[in-house]
């Protein structure tokens, strides 16, 4: 076969990794005591299709190992063996091993053969346990790969072994090998193995010439004449050897991995007429997957689409701007048509965005395993509660929150949840609970990781921070600020682990990751009761509803989600405070006034508060008044990252293109507030309240 199979490798890897995920999910359900035939079937299907694929691409280690795994799964499926925790454990680790093997193969690296061999030995041991040897399973009959899986052990049943080598003209004379095989199968249990060795490269392939050969085994008390009768019409055009299945082990029952590469490439190489039963069985198995109506599209294509839509949105807003000053009857019609266009654009944009959205369960799914394994290792009893795992998030966001979340959950398991005896002594249940909770709020997705463990010890955090010079003793810190100290870089060192129940390990990294996504992280903790970490993430990284605001010559985009209201300032509501700052009385609150022009060092039109506008913006529960010259239109803007070609700037979430082709910077309100507060922190407590 000279057909280049490497082009299919990536798809195979991708599908296999996904399949392994679903296998792991099913295994975890099994381990939770749910014994369900469908679950075992799912696991089996995964193992089977990976094995088939691996054999096709000659990843023999993977195929060989999976074969052993499959045999065990087959026994579980047939009810020959009970599902036990230790078996599930081995199966879970086998899944890991397969993943490792596949990714090693993908990267063209060496496979950890020693580890695989150990696992394989373990699988073998389990299978040899109750003398219940593997037996062929009727349901698996269709596939030669599967049919041969339990090879070796079974006693030979009576039957016939047939070697069927059709002549090249068989098809031209109207004989259909498939029909022959089908007829054979009515006589008794049929095992089919196709030999595609004679197939030329695709370019030289003549679909009318039959080059396939078959090794067949039909079981049952059948008369030789009956078998021969099946081949009656083809007899003159083929070589046919029919022999009784005897005691001697024969070449036909060679190990499955050897047979599989022969059978499977047919799917790729030959037209449908010549397709043997093996690929059919495979595709049938694939069709059985629940995600029937989906296609695989590369992210680049979707991003291209999204970009084009973004440009369209800009063009559309240019058109609207051009139409605005027009007058007359036609102008009205034009405007209403443009309004319609805008609605359609929004709909289009939303559907394109939705293509990129995935449920957060993609990330949450790894946690049952993590909690189970880590809990076991630490001897802690932990229950994981997951809610809102259907909440959808942009794929990019999803990919980037995986690691931070793992970190947080590990922290909760490792340092949050106490040992069972400690918990009992504290009057809590023996089982600790970690909950993952995801939900929509405003334009954001909130993810909360909470535990009912020991909580953070504020006195120790403060002591540590003083030692490290992160704070000075003369400043009175709010509870929130003390908790936030664990996010400070340099707070995450080994001795903190023992001192402050270990929280803070790499928490600065977690926070940085979340901030990079345009999200925010908050921590709540009650000593003795547990902690909650709340992460706020943008629904998507690509588009934002923005309010354009002008300061001098510059135009900034303020995210609408951050805006509370915009007001005209009156003199009597402004009070001066120390250090030249000003606060503004809004109903019963005093809000600090942030002058954008002085914060960003630009030349404004108005210096007097009465001439401009005050935008009340909110982030993380803090509100400030943002002083700008003028408000402009509201529009959806496509977020372009500043980081791609430059770097992150505190206070800026990115940039976007305006209708006139200019770049406008998008404000990051939490960053703006931080920027505003930071230089004053040493002096006084921010935000007089």
């Amino acid at each position: 076969m000279t057909l280049d199979l490497t082009q299919f490798h990536e798809i195979f890897f991708e599908e296999s990794f996904e399949a392994l995920d679903s296998m792991e999910a099913a295994l975890l359900k099994l381990s939770a005591g749910e014994v369900d035939a469908e679950l075992i079937n799912t696991i089996f299907r995964v193992a089977h299709s990976i094995k088939g694929g691996a054999a096709t691409f000659a990843f023999n280690e993977v195929a060989g190992f999976t074969h052993v795994l499959e045999t065990l799964l087959d026994q579980l499926r047939a009810g020959k063996r009970q599902v036990r925790p230790d078996i599930v454990d081995v199966l879970l680790r086998s899944g890991d091993a397969m993943r490792a093997m596949l990714s090693a193969t993908q990267r063209k690296e060496a496979i950890d053969t020693a580890g695989v061999a150990t696992l394989r030995a373990e699988l073998d041991r389990i299978m040899s346990e109750s003398g219940n040897a593997a037996a062929p399973v009727a349901a698996a009959a269709a596939s030669p790969v599967k049919a041969q899986a339990p090879a070796g052990a079974p006693a030979h049943k009576p039957g016939w072994r047939i070697k069927f080598v059709p002549g090249p003209d068989l098809l031209r004379h109207g004989n259909d090998p498939l029909r022959i095989l089908r007829e054979l199968s009515t006589l008794g249990h049929l095992k089919v193995s196709a030999d595609a060795g004679g197939i030329p490269p695709l370019t030289d392939l003549d679909p009318e010439v039959c080059r396939l050969r078959w090794n067949l085994e039909v079981e049952g008390e059948i008369e030789r004449a009956a078998v021969q009768a099946v081949f009656e019409w083809a007899e003159s055009e083929c070589e046919l050897t029919i022999e009784r299945i005897g005691g001697e082990p024969s070449a036909a029952t060679a190990p499955a991995p050897a047979a599989a590469p022969i059978a499977a490439p047919i799917a790729a190489a030959t037209p449908a007429t010549e397709a043997a039963s093996a690929p059919k069985a495979e595709s049938a198995a694939r069709n059985a997957n629940p995600d029937g109506g989906s296609i695989r599209v590369s992210i680049e294509k979707i991003d291209e689409l999204l970009n084009s839509v973004g440009e369209l949105v800009i063009t559309q807003s240019v058109l609207s701007q051009l139409a605005a000053p027009l007058e007359g009857r036609e102008a009205g019609e034009l405007r209403s048509a443009l309004a319609q266009l805008e609605r359609h654009m929004r709909a289009l944009q939303e559907s394109v965005m939705r293509v990129r959205m995935l449920p957060i369960s993609f990330v949450f799914n790894r946690f049952p395993r993590l909690v189970r394994d880590l809990g076991q290792r630490l001897g802690k009893k932990i229950e994981l509660k997951v809610t809102g795992d259907t909440t959808e998030l942009d794929k990019t966001v999803l990919e980037k929150i995986g690691d931070p979340l793992v970190h947080l959950v590990r922290n909760s398991i490792d340092h949050g949840i106490e040992m069972p005896d400690v918990r009992l002594a504290a009057g809590k249940t023996e089982h600790g609970t970690i909950s993952l909770h995801a939900y929509h709020k405003g334009g954001n997705v909130i993810v909360e990781v909470s535990d009912d463990g020991g909580g953070l010890r504020k006195d120790k955090i403060l002591k540590k921070a003083l030692e490290r010079g992160l704070v000075t003793s003369d400043v009175e810190l709010s509870e929130e600020r003390i908790l936030n100290l664990i996010f400070a870089p340099g707070f995450s060192t080994a001795d903190v682990v023992s001192d402050v129940s270990g929280r803070g390990v790499g928490m600065d990294v977690v926070r940085r990751n979340i901030l990079e996504l345009g999200g925010h992280i908050q921590i709540f903790s009650t000593e003795g009761k547990g902690s909650t970490i709340r992460i706020r993430l943008p629904l998507t990284l690509a588009i934002l509803d923005g309010q354009l605001a002008r300061v001098g010559k510059e135009v900034y985009v303020v995210p609408i989600v951050s805006i509370v209201e915009t007001i005209q300032v009156t003199r009597e509501r402004v009070c001066a405070v120390a250090n030249g700052g000003q606060v503004f009385r809004l109903r019963d609150d005093y809000l600090p006034i942030v002058r954008l022009h002085s914060l960003f060092d630009i030349e404004p039109d108005h210096l007097d508060l009465l001439d401009g506008l005050l935008m009340i913006v909110e982030a993380d529960g803090k509100r400030v008044g943002l002083f700008v010259d003028e408000l402009m239109s509201q529009q959806q803007v496509v977020i372009k990252s500043l980081e791609t070609n430059f770097k992150q700037v505190t206070g800026l979430a990115g940039a976007t293109m305006l209708g006139d082709g200019r770049v406008a910077l998008i404000l990051d309100i939490p960053g703006v507030i931080t920027r505003f507060q930071e230089p004053e922190e040493r002096g006084r407590k921010p935000q007089a309240a």
Binding site: F600, N645, F646, R662, V663
Partner: protein
């Protein structure tokens, strides 16, 4: 002898091409393969809290590209924006940046033997 060698180097595969440009009367060069395009000077959007030599960002066909004034970066006193002032768009690694120079001059081919270590 050394001359012919150098000439031979010009035709050799390891000879490099450089785009030369003027900065405060001096000639500078940049590897031609990093040059994406040359644009006329256009207004930029200022980015706050950045060094003075970072003039701001422009919209280059939908991509946000930072613009650096090399004359300010190199601490030259005179950074005027005239008719010949141009922006060279460079691709550096995965990043795209624009540099403002007084004007571009030529493309020269230089053999490895002609490149001396920096003073």
């Amino acid at each position: 002898m050394s001359n012919t060698n150098a000439n031979g180097g010009l035709e050799a595969a390891d000879a490099q091409q450089f785009l030369t440009f003027k900065l405060a009367g001096e000639e500078y060069g940049v590897g031609i393969l990093t040059v994406q395009e040359i644009r006329g000077w256009s207004q930029v959007t200022k980015v706050p809290h950045t060094p003075v030599w970072l003039l701001g960002v422009i919209n280059l066909r939908g991509v946000v590209v930072p613009i650096i004034d090399l004359r300010l970066k190199f601490n030259f006193a005179n950074a005027e924006y005239t008719d010949t002032t141009v922006v060279i768009i460079l691709t550096v690694g995965i990043r795209v940046v624009g540099v403002v120079v007084d004007g571009v001059s030529d493309v020269i081919t230089v053999g490895p033997a002609q490149i001396k270590p920096a003073p």
